[in-house]
């Protein structure tokens, strides 16, 4: 009953082509944005900003990129961390070597560099599909990280190989407190997420979905496969590049190749799987889930330890606590794939379906 779209008539083409045509959706999204921009800065503390909100938003952006590539265009990729690394190092070098470079322009250019690298490593997708493509992207992952380490020009010939990211400053306003970093990341992610939502329902998005479902048929009806696939790689890498630049500047504070290992690629893939393949909302849900899960687990283990110590005066061995995260991650992936292969976003959709009828039974 709450989610009825009956009675919402569109009288102009513009109204018909809105991103959120259902009034309840619009209200929900605006409420979330108002909450994130205006309420959270006052109620959250420093820990929440720097350890939970900022990494969730950054990973959501990277997951968005991977979702565009794997979820909408159907090209499996295990190299997202490599594109993030390209973005981070490119942003660093642009700010370093071009005097007076504005920060946002540096981020945009870093995304473009990542897009170019993405196109290069996306070229194999024109001839290979499925796991073979995943292995090709693994090649990208290993090669890019090796190249960033081997050629010291990228890290400005620093002796330790770990460079501190420059301070962020836009139009004289400096972004060094956790609150300011959160606002910057939130603004960028909102803009890019809106752009992604628009992109996937436009003709390029439909072309991606056609290629994902059956690329032979897509080519038969006239969709240009090369342009579509390379565009998917380019845009996905752009998103991952900007996410990587934000990861280095707003979260880690350093620009180093070791932060962008295969492990990170897998984490982003897990976010996409758990959140929902082929869904913009799913990227956010998956990122929140994967970021919060280790914290939840450690709190759980801690309280269980306290309880056990108080009641039985024995505590869990360290081998269990440290490996619990692996086991739970792996188990959850399998659980989600069996029970709900379309992820958390599908659960949300089912909830909305139920809301159409609630509280009536039928």
């Amino acid at each position: 009953m709450l989610y009825r779209e009956a009675g919402q008539f569109k009288t102009t083409y513009v109204a018909d082509q809105q991103i959120f045509p259902i009034r309840q959706d619009r209200i929900g999204v605006i409420a979330v944005l108002v909450f994130a921009f205006l309420v959270v800065p006052f109620i959250a503390n420093q820990y929440w900003f720097s350890a939970i909100l900022v990494p969730t938003l950054i990973f959501a952006l990277a997951a968005l990129g991977l979702n565009i590539l794997t979820g909408y265009a159907g090209q499996l990729s295990l190299g997202s961390a490599a594109f993030m690394a390209v973005g981070a190092f490119a942003a660093y070098n642009f700010v370093l070597r071009v005097p007076g470079m504005p920060l946002l322009v540096a981020f945009a250019l870093a995304g473009c560099c990542a897009a170019l690298v993405g196109i290069v490593f996306g070229l194999p997708s024109l001839r290979i599909k499925g796991f073979y493509l995943a292995v090709a992207t693994l090649a990208a992952q290993f090669f890019v990280v090796w190249a960033l380490v081997k050629f010291p020009w990228f890290s400005n010939y620093s002796s330790s190989g770990v460079i501190t990211a420059q301070k962020m400053e836009i139009l004289g306003v400096s972004f060094d407190t956790p609150l300011m970093k959160y606002m910057l990341v939130l603004s960028l992610v909102t803009v890019l997420a809106l752009a992604a939502k628009n992109m996937v329902r436009s003709s390029i998005g439909r072309a991606w979905m056609a290629v994902r479902d059956m690329d032979v048929a897509a080519e038969v009806i006239g969709i240009r496969i090369m342009r579509t696939k390379l565009m998917a790689f380019a845009i996905s890498s752009f998103y991952c590049g900007v996410a990587g630049a934000l990861y280095a500047y707003a979260y880690l504070g350093t620009v180093e190749p070791e932060a962008f290992t295969l492990d990170l690629s897998f984490r982003i893939l897990f976010m996409v799987i758990i959140g929902g393949v082929g869904s913009i909302l799913g990227s956010f849900l998956g990122a929140a889930f994967i970021t919060l899960l280790p914290i939840l687990l450690s709190v759980l283990v801690h309280t269980m330890n306290e309880l056990l110590r108080a009641v039985f005066s024995v505590s869990l061995p360290a081998s269990i606590t440290s490996n619990l995260e692996f086991v739970v991650f792996g188990g959850l992936i399998i659980f989600f794939l069996i029970v709900e292969p379309h992820g958390l976003a599908r659960l949300w959709q089912i909830g909305k379906e139920k809301l159409r009828l609630w509280p009536f039974p039928h």
Binding site: G130, F143, I334
Partner: protein, 298 residues
Amino acid sequence: MQFFFEVLIGGLLSGVMYSLVALGFVLIYKASGVFNFAQGSMVFFAALTFVGLQQESGLSLWLALPVTLGAMVILGLLIERIVLRPLVNQPQISLFMATIGLSFLIEGVTQMLWGASPRGLELGIEDQPFDWLMDRTGLNVSQFDLFAAVVSGVLVSALAIFFQHTRIGRALRAVADDHQAALSIGIPLQYIWAIVWAVAGFVALVAGLMWGARNGVQFALTFTALKALPVLILGGFESIPGAIVGGLIVGATEKLAEVYIGPHVGGGIEGWFPYVLALLFLLVRPEGLFGEKRIDRV
């Protein structure tokens, strides 16, 4: 010239080790169409269980071997029951992602059971060069590497015969082509999958013993699985001889590239050279040297 041969032989022998891991992949892919990303963790689990039984429970080598084999068979059965059966006929991507989750799960459980410190594995064969070969030709070939090569050869021949000439082997190939079609002609799917995963577990055990004896049993063993991926691409996903040939090529080119091309670009190219090689190979021959040709042209 002699140095070249030494590097070549060393590369070939290390390639044989890669193909041991790749064999497990090929077996499972050939029989159930699932690309088992968890093979690396299974190798780790097998090796660590073997060493753990030897060191902590004090079992002798010949007793620990069948016990570990039993554990691998049970692991295979559990995987088939809990992960594969609910995912019958789902798209390949889902199964692949399920095996990624499985690999994390197995790694975590292994380290929970046996701890995270690296351990050494003794098989009684030393990593020393053959003296008589050294005296005759001056070549430096490790005894252990040669033993691993012989073991792999025997294993591959046995598996190839098994797949080609027995009824169960044919049933396995039928299942790999199409699960539902195989069911419809009466092949007992669960029974076949249990066999396949058990055999893959056995191969993982052999690979784990070889790799563990060479490099020690530690967490990095799971990443050897990643090294097997270029081997699979070169050899073809469904071919057992392909796994061996691919392994030899990858091992040899990796070492040769490291020795001869490496110094010009600063070294350390072992990490990505096999992947780039596989990538270039894919552009020319997407199904690998011995894989099934799937024509998907527009």
